[in-house]
Amino acid sequence: MADLRIKIGPLEFRNPVILASGTCGYGAELEDFMDLSELGGIIVKGTTLEPREGNPYPRMAETPSGMLNAVGLQNKGIDYFEKNIYPHLAEYDTHVIVNVNGNTIEDYVELSRRLDELKAIPAIELNISCPNVKKGGMIFGTNPASAREVISAVRKVYHKTLIVKLSPNVTDITEFARISEEEGAEAVSLVNTLLGMAIDARTMRPKLSTITGGLSGPAIKPVALRMVWQVARAVRIPVIGLGGIMNAEDAIEFILAGATAVQVGTVSFIDPGAGTSIVKGIEKYLVEKEFDSVSRITGLINRN
């Protein structure tokens, strides 16, 4: 047995495996395939103040070892969330984190304030990196001044664990990680999707209604791993690594690169029980390698 517990700010997680936002619904959709209480946590769908219908179909294109999506934050808004979804989430025996989105700083602040009041939500993930919406989203994640402003404003009203989700579509991601740290975030998570595009040569048209979309899956793993490694060396707050994790070995690579925890995203579409399999795989690896806790291997490649 190895100790899998990790801490993000004041919050202790049972293990370092968290389901990524936008790829696990509200958790319930995956309950037939795994026991959510065996996970470190789940980050539910990207949520906004007002309800959103998202982008037109088609929203998806398969690419080599990955996929593009252009969902565009379809969700029923915070009121519906609080009234109809939250009560169920409150009964889960795992950390339920909400992924927070907005068009304006005021949106982010108001939504964070509302979530601060929800007892059973111990943390939020500030999504300043969604490539699939015209306003807000990635703008905040690719402009240092805007990033600082929105994080700082949210920090003032949000008193629990604040995670900032960074965009990989930047020249220097460590800059945004440092800003997050300076503005008081408890952790950064990275990466969100890479901005990509697909064209159908037969129809001579883009495959997505929005032309560009977000690339996820194993194709992006080398880039994600590199960024996690860079950020882990640049800041002292914990780094949550994600991007293309398909199995325990991938997750371990992120941890070796410096991630305190990992998120699993696209893999759940292919293996809806991947989350808990990865937990078991990490434990097995630690036992085989004779490490008594996961923290012993966090950032190991930087230590020797």
């Binding site: 619904g25 319930a28 995956l30 209480s37 998806m60 690419t63 979804i85 889960y92 759940s268 809806p272």
Partner: protein, 275 residues
Amino acid sequence: MTDSVQIVYFCTQGGLMKKRIEDLTVIENRRLAESFFLIKVSSPGGLPEINPGQFVQALVTESPATFLRRPLSVHDVDRNMNTISLLVQIAGPGTERLSRLNPGEKLNLVYPLGNSFTLPSEGEKVLLTGGGCGMAPLLYLGRKISESGVQPHFALGFRNRSRILGHDEFKTLGPVHLSTEDGSEGHRGFVTDIPAFRDEKWDRIYCCGPEPMMKAVAAACIRRGIFCEVSLENLMACGLGICLCCVVPTTSGNLCSCTDGPVFNVNDLKWQTSG
């Protein structure tokens, strides 16, 4: 933890049945016509309840170009043999690989997924219409309708004679009307040109096929006030209601065709009028 059955966000019906991920064993893989294959797989532990219109998400291994699972309708279910049949048309590398599955190989499925067709009431007159691999869900639907004491009629459309799929199984359940676009067999034209479709009075019409066919059928049904359900084949990533990629605009907003569908009443679809 609460029982997932109580939690309904997007999924109105699909979420109600327990889903599983399972390695099934290929029992048979038979070429039916040009690029159509009938794949029969058996569940080692016994099949769950499966409703007509539901689908599976098949894992395609050994196909470097295929990253995601592939949605396939349940074509038939044999409870005695514990088998599911899939009717697969080769459309690209994923279905091509499936067409080469050998008996004894494993096929990993996530299933049963999606909602299902609404069964008719006693005494109703129902027509099941489709074409190509759109025929897939109609056999099991016909079987269930037949078991419920209603006789299903079928109207199946094909490009031409060489593309006609075997439909002997359909014939055991009810009358089968055929159309081909070039008239090389059955009625010339589309399913909507088949006299039985045009002229008889139906209480319900179920349709699955290429989008233009479904739109034509839907338009006709709306005009004639016939109850009509179609099964959509939107592009899917997860099939579980978690990616929100498969949406279709409905009168209640964008709904997931994998959990709120794939079966929709045409009155609820936004394309009803443009058809």
